[in-house]
């Protein structure tokens, strides 16, 4: 080919950026590597934050965990902005198809009253929890050191906003007058005794200062106990009550959780593998927040729901090199 003949004499003088080369070697780098590693300022910060005098602008000490190299974590999904957006656009298209299918076939009208009640009582209040998860993950993106950890939490946080919005759409879709069932669900979130444990858990998580502890409390423990219930048990319960069609609308949550788990697991595996001190710290946090999460979630998901989620979480923790005692002791 003539193009190739011509280009042979235009030789590159380097293969990639210097920092990328020092980390990965002198060879063409992937887009994830160039976009994610060693790009955040590390030194010569000019001013201390007015809101946080004890820290530098970007400071590894926003967590008690210590790492030699904060870029030891690499997102197994290799999400930089473009890859994340492309992936989520595909997910969004699927969800959009499901929502319009549900609507066109008027599947909402086939929903039994019991099933609808279960959706209002169990699923819809979670849109507020998702808003909390959004805040927590965006906060982590702000505090965490290094781009790979920060951006993965940022994407996770925006995903949570999307989930909150999809849950809201479910509420609109099964409603005769838009907004009524969502208001009902919000009332439960605010006042129903069964929901107060979860709301308290979320509000308490808002004041956790250590970002890694916050990610444990939200992403590893709470989601680890809640999502398997949503994806397995709730679906079955709805099916039994004649609400199986709802699964068309909540499917995306299962896919999303699977995807997010790959990042969360890789993160905690890396953090735990660094040192005994990190591992112990993580175990203490897991123990503490697991106990609280079980207490908060039990009124919503039931003892059986919790037990099977705990078994799954224990399995994950073993793989991550973390203790399962705390988790196992409960069932």
């Amino acid at each position: 080919m003539s193009v190739e003949i011509k280009t042979t004499s235009i030789e590159p003088i380097r293969q990639t950026y210097g920092h990328t080369q020092r980390r990965f070697g002198d060879k063409p780098a992937t887009r994830y590597q160039e976009a994610s590693f060693d790009i955040q300022s590390t030194t010569n910060f000019h001013y201390r934050p007015l809101y946080d005098h004890q820290f530098e602008l970007y400071d590894p000490d926003h967590t008690a965990l210590k790492m030699c190299d904060w870029y030891a974590f690499s997102d197994p999904r290799q999400f930089y902005y473009g890859a994340w957006v492309a992936n989520r656009d595909a997910m969004q298209k699927n969800a959009e198809n499901s929502f319009s299918f549900f609507e066109k076939r008027n599947l909402g009208s086939r929903l039994s009253d019991e099933a609808k009640q279960l959706v209002i009582k169990t699923l819809l209040p979670l849109r507020h929890m998702e808003m909390g998860a959004n805040m927590n993950n965006v906060g982590i993106a702000g505090d965490a050191y290094g781009t790979t950890i920060s951006q993965a939490h940022m994407f996770h946080g925006m995903d949570r906003l999307a989930t909150a919005q999809y849950l809201s759409r479910i509420g609109l879709l099964i409603d005769d007058t838009p907004g009524v069932v969502l208001a009902e669900a919000k009332q439960l979130w605010m006042e129903d005794p069964a929901w107060q444990g979860v709301r308290r858990y979320v509000e308490d998580s808002f004041v956790i200062k250590d970002w890694a502890e916050l990610s444990v409390a939200q992403n590893l423990v709470f989601d680890g106990l809640l999502y398997p219930y949503l994806n397995d048990h709730l679906e079955a319960e709805l099916d039994e009550l004649g609400g199986g069609d709802i699964a068309i609308l909540t499917d995306f949550m299962g896919d999303w959780f699977k995807d997010g788990t790959r990042f969360i697991d890789a993160l905690f595996k890396t953090l735990a593998a660094e040192s005994e001190a990190n591992r112990e710290q993580l175990n203490r946090w897991i123990q503490h927040w697991h106990e609280r999460a079980v207490e908060a979630l039990e009124p919503i998901v039931g003892k059986a729901g919790i037990a099977s989620s705990q078994a799954l979480l224990a399995k994950r923790l073993t793989k991550l090199g973390l203790d399962t005692d705390a988790v196992a002791s409960h069932y």
Partner: protein, 503 residues
């Protein structure tokens, strides 16, 4: 949301349910513990629900639109790298504008990403929080698309290879670094006033449109494409800037003087920062777009005029020292290029004397200043260079404590006198380039005494010792003879000629 359900609700109601209604009034923790940064700046927010959402984008539409933009963008990047697109640029000197961009601007995008993530968590109002979050991921997008856009050029040209390392260390990059860190270390309301309003709304057109049109005129497909693509997010960011200012001003009259002070500070700081863009436009683009003075007139004087007229009813006046920018627009690009030319051994790009044709263009664009003040200087330097005595200045300049630009800019009322102010604070003397910068210092001396001034740091031995070659080569990672020095006779120029014969 395109489904039919949505048709039952209009866009505003739908958006309210999708965002505002997700938040709740907490009762297990106090508002001030959940949002601890909201109060300390003295801004009074009476009612967050008064917030007007600038754009009502839900995540599904966000993903849809952004994915479409990204697809188009990366298709161009692929095409450029597959076809040696770098060889289409007008002149190899053009690439120096790109080097300046990735070292000085791309890291700012990253800082914006982090800053908006913080504020996107810290604001007590959910509408404002989400607008900030979307901007945060957009800014991450800008960082990463810029890195990817330049990735191909970095393989063929110098000066781009260690941009994050350089950003943290190199003397002139402390100008953008200190600018943005000043904003990022401020409270959330000042951060938005600084970046969303003063920078994005008032000044962003002056940064992006010149770079992008410059790229278009000089055959740089990657930069044109990422620039316009990034700029399509910018319309959203600009609207956030205008909304936040109106919101703060409407919330409480006590907010007006605080905001006014911020506007004064950030316009001046932004103006100083943009002198680097002015120099890029007037001196670094082989094919010129418009002059810096013309751009300042069009994007600041005209567009800014309408804006400040709009804010008058809140009791806001145009920023202090704005009149000095109107005088300075005819000088600043020339003076800045002169500084970089002299210190061309310590820059991560090549410098040169404008060609005769380029000087004629400058005379035409700057009839009152160029022939009188700057042409003689450049002609003298050209003569010396022709005799093999290319001028490099080996003394270290005095930097302004605030903007960190060397003291080389002239007095507003006397263009033959370097402007120099100073002040004594707690027994120590501090130097400034202007009244504007000194004012900023006086308002917050505790903050600005902390500044990491590159020249001081070199003198104190914090940059690898007293040997400038070591500072430049080892500490800055500017490769001596490759990345820096005169363009004429440079390896860049030599390689370009060889490559041109190959295509």
């Amino acid at each position: 949301m395109n489904a039919k359900t949505s048709k039952r609700l209009n866009m505003k109601d739908r958006y309210r349910i999708m965002t505002r209604d997700l938040a709740w009034e907490p009762s297990y923790q106090r508002h001030e513990d959940i949002f601890p940064q909201e109060d300390f700046e003295g801004i009074k927010i009476v009612d967050w629900s008064q917030w007007e959402d600038p754009f009502r984008l839900t995540m599904d539409n966000y993903w849809k639109f952004q994915a479409e933009k990204e697809r188009k963008l990366y298709a161009i990047f692929d095409a450029v790298s597959q076809n040696n697109g770098q060889m289409n640029v007008s002149d190899p000197r053009y690439l120096n504008a790109v080097k300046l961009f990735i070292t000085a601007v791309t890291p700012l995008e990253y800082n914006a990403y982090k800053g908006y993530a913080r504020v996107g968590r810290q604001f007590g109002g959910v509408g404002a929080r989400i607008a900030c979050q979307m901007q945060s991921i957009d800014e991450l997008r800008h960082t990463q698309t810029q890195i990817h856009a330049m990735s191909h050029y970095n393989k063929y040209f110098g000066g781009m290879h260690d941009f994050p390392h350089m950003f943290d260390r190199v003397w002139y990059l402390s100008v953008p670094k200190s600018f943005f860190e000043d904003a990022s270390t401020a409270g959330p309301f000042e951060f938005l006033t600084a970046i969303s309003f003063s920078f994005e709304y008032v000044l962003t057109n002056l940064l992006f449109l010149p770079f992008m049109s410059g790229a278009a005129y000089n055959g740089d497909m990657n930069t044109v494409t990422f620039g316009f693509s990034a700029q399509s997010d910018e319309a959203r960011h600009m609207t956030l800037g205008l909304e936040i200012i109106k919101f703060i001003l409407e919330q409480h009259e006590d907010n007006v003087p605080i905001v006014q002070k911020w506007l004064d500070k950030w316009l001046w700081r932004g103006y100083r920062l943009l002198s680097i863009v002015g120099m890029m436009m007037d001196y670094m683009l082989p094919n010129k777009v418009m002059s810096w003075a013309e751009a300042w007139e069009m994007y600041y004087e005209e567009a800014g005029g309408a804006l400040f007229k709009e804010l008058e009813r809140y009791g806001i006046r145009p920023p202090k020292f704005a009149e000095q920018t109107v005088i300075g627009k005819n000088h600043v690009s020339h003076q800045t290029w002169f500084v970089f030319y002299q210190y061309g051994h310590a820059t991560a790009f090549n410098t040169w004397i404008p060609t005769a044709k380029e000087m004629d263009w400058l005379s035409e664009k700057y009839p009152d200043t160029f022939d009188r003040l700057y042409r003689p200087r450049f002609e003298l330097l050209a003569e010396k260079a022709a005799k093999g005595e290319r001028f490099y200045n080996n003394t270290l300049p005095q930097l302004c404590q605030i903007c960190q630009i060397p003291l080389a800019i002239t007095e507003p009322d006397d263009d033959t006198m370097i402007s120099h102010r100073d002040t004594v604070h707690e027994g120590e003397r501090y130097h400034f380039c202007s009244d504007g910068c000194r004012d900023i210092f006086h308002n917050e001396p505790e903050k600005y005494v902390q500044a990491w001034l590159p020249v001081h740091q070199i003198l104190q031995g914090n940059c690898g010792g007293a040997d400038m070659e070591k500072v430049i080569g080892d500490y800055y990672r500017i490769e001596m003879g490759e990345d820096n020095l005169e363009f004429e006779g440079s390896p860049e120029q030599r390689r370009w000629k060889q490559w041109k014969q190959a295509v």
